[in-house]
Symmetry: none
Subunit: 211 residues, 4 copies
Amino acid sequence: MARPQTDIEAGREALIGHVIDLIEERGNSAMTVGEIAARAGMSPANLYRYFDSKEALVEAVAERWFQPKLEIMEEVVASDLPPRRKMFEFYARRFALMKAEWERDPVAFSSYVELGKENFELIRSYVDLGDHYLAMIIGEAMAEGHFAGLSVDEAISLVNQITNVYCNIGAMEMVMPKLTTEKLARIIDAVFDGLSASDRGARAVSGLRAA
Amino acid sequence: MARPQTDIEAGREALIGHVIDLIEERGNSAMTVGEIAARAGMSPANLYRYFDSKEALVEAVAERWFQPKLEIMEEVVASDLPPRRKMFEFYARRFALMKAEWERDPVAFSSYVELGKENFELIRSYVDLGDHYLAMIIGEAMAEGHFAGLSVDEAISLVNQITNVYCNIGAMEMVMPKLTTEKLARIIDAVFDGLSASDRGARAVSGLRAA
Amino acid sequence: MARPQTDIEAGREALIGHVIDLIEERGNSAMTVGEIAARAGMSPANLYRYFDSKEALVEAVAERWFQPKLEIMEEVVASDLPPRRKMFEFYARRFALMKAEWERDPVAFSSYVELGKENFELIRSYVDLGDHYLAMIIGEAMAEGHFAGLSVDEAISLVNQITNVYCNIGAMEMVMPKLTTEKLARIIDAVFDGLSASDRGARAVSGLRAA
Amino acid sequence: MARPQTDIEAGREALIGHVIDLIEERGNSAMTVGEIAARAGMSPANLYRYFDSKEALVEAVAERWFQPKLEIMEEVVASDLPPRRKMFEFYARRFALMKAEWERDPVAFSSYVELGKENFELIRSYVDLGDHYLAMIIGEAMAEGHFAGLSVDEAISLVNQITNVYCNIGAMEMVMPKLTTEKLARIIDAVFDGLSASDRGARAVSGLRAA
DNA sequence: GATGAATGAGGCTTCATTCAT
DNA sequence: CATGAATGAAGCCTCATTCAT
């Protein structure tokens, strides 16, 4: 009798796909409702059957972009690698994925970065989850005696900062050409072998600290 | 008859100042040509005597923002601190400045970040200069035996990446609340004590998929 | 084969009810075809089987709104109260009903007013019927010697105008807080005791500009 | 040097005039920004130099519509007619003006009514001022012994309600054809001769009141 | 040199209505 | 009979930029 419940979800996915295409072909600023609808072969008005606003659509696009990275994190954390290797993989696999994306289309990558900026909530939750997983890895590492004298929170914070450029898309973008898996390995090693609470002179011995 | 460019130059400087005020008072989105001109007490049309386009003006603003950071770099590099301390100061002083700016007005800081993004060339040259100075410091450090086995370029790249979050404004913004001079000191120490060419197991000995 | 209009009629009634609910819950501006259809558990397209256009539906809603007021008029006119009391009740009962509606939901009341405005014909016929009934009451009053010197038509017109604010929904809305049954009684008394054809000086004896 | 300060006020007035023309020619719904701008021979964008929003423009139009009515009120109140005549003129002159407007173009009149509805604040202040002036007239009348037993506030309220149809544009519109200056005179006379606090039977003698 | 005036292009959104299925 | 899908027309607003004076 009635027409079949045409999957609205399918329409959403298709639209997300069209936005992605659009971004990759013409950059972020071409992403107008009219253009997106045209790609999807529908009228701008009809697009609003699938998403309540342009913003909602953009958010969905950003969400999809983050999905694979989340999956990688989960997978690595669930593995039973030794801590040092686990931390390396935790960053390396996501980095590899993003580097590949960047190489395929640097402009598009940049667009996604911008997209993320506009959807801060998403990034925030991604980052928070990353912190959570990192805490687990660091816990395992400390059980093996690493990061002597540091609290878990301190350790998380420091590791995050040191490795920032390999997981923060915004930071990554600007130095992508210089990032390699090999360097990442060195950095992780430096983290495991060099990071502790002991003060070894970077700050002035007699100056700043003393005062 | 025609006055020399001095006049124009003064106008440009004034305009830049007004844009800065505007950003700090009302954020980036209030930065329309009309608003800027109003601040400067001139007509929008007249503004175009000083800058060819809004973009050119914005670029000049970004340029001015970077200036003090450049000066700090020069100053530190010219000092005769020992390498470990020198590297620390190299980052710490710029960081202190930016953190202060951020604390005074996070929204304005964010605006500058955005401005930077839009003027990638500028950032690029700032980064390049930073690399150059860092190379000098690393040279001194290597003369003291640090970074065993690494080439200067490798060392620069690695240090840059590790410390990225303390000098890349975009990266910095997102984690600013967690950044401290103390943590920076720990990181520099980790760099000096943990960074070398030796492979210590982060990467799988027999390849990524070995485990 | 085809079922009689009964079905359609039932659908119309149901739709009218849904519109009323909608108005009372969310005001006049939420009254879109989509929303109405959703309430009625049907598709917007299907709604057009019951009404040719949104306008027709709205008209039907307005019509239903007037129904109880018509019934009151009929009832009062058929009663055998003395003229003065009859006229009072003629207005007072409708007013009481509308004041109650207004108190329950002023926004909804306002929506109905707007609805009325858009369906002027309806209001017109309501007003005409009111005039007709009023004529009967006035006839009875004149038989008792009131409104000396005025024709029936003049009397109707004058009474209508004087009491307008107690029966014209549009006028009523704006001053509702100040309207009371007591004041209405005073006004009816003033009508019965003060309205006649004699000129008592409101108008300049020798013309408007004489003074 | 600079172009002369072209009067922005003049532009506003012109625009208001164009809106008025538009209303009179094509009714309220034709009043779109595009149409108005076209009338004024300018682009829609330019219109925003004169008014911050369509709403502001519409408000100005409504304001202008009310202006002459305000002036009449002031004039009459300042005159030294006797109270009965003064009250008559207070209503009659405004009514004459509005009736003339309505006769010239009933549709336009209706548009103004709608305009008023949308700019309730304006109407409110107009009404309030009217109340204020009416109070003065009633004061004078009471000094002559009218409205026995009523407080000033009661008297204002009652007179307002009785005469409502001759000054409330919304109410007036619907019955305009039946409104005349003669009838108004009768009504004012009825007010002066029939309005008092005495209960003369409109309300049930033994019923409602007794309980 | 400096201005006021003016604009074109573009962006998002809403909604009554139609139509093939 | 009833639906989901689709749309065209319309509406408001912003802003960088140009140009005659």
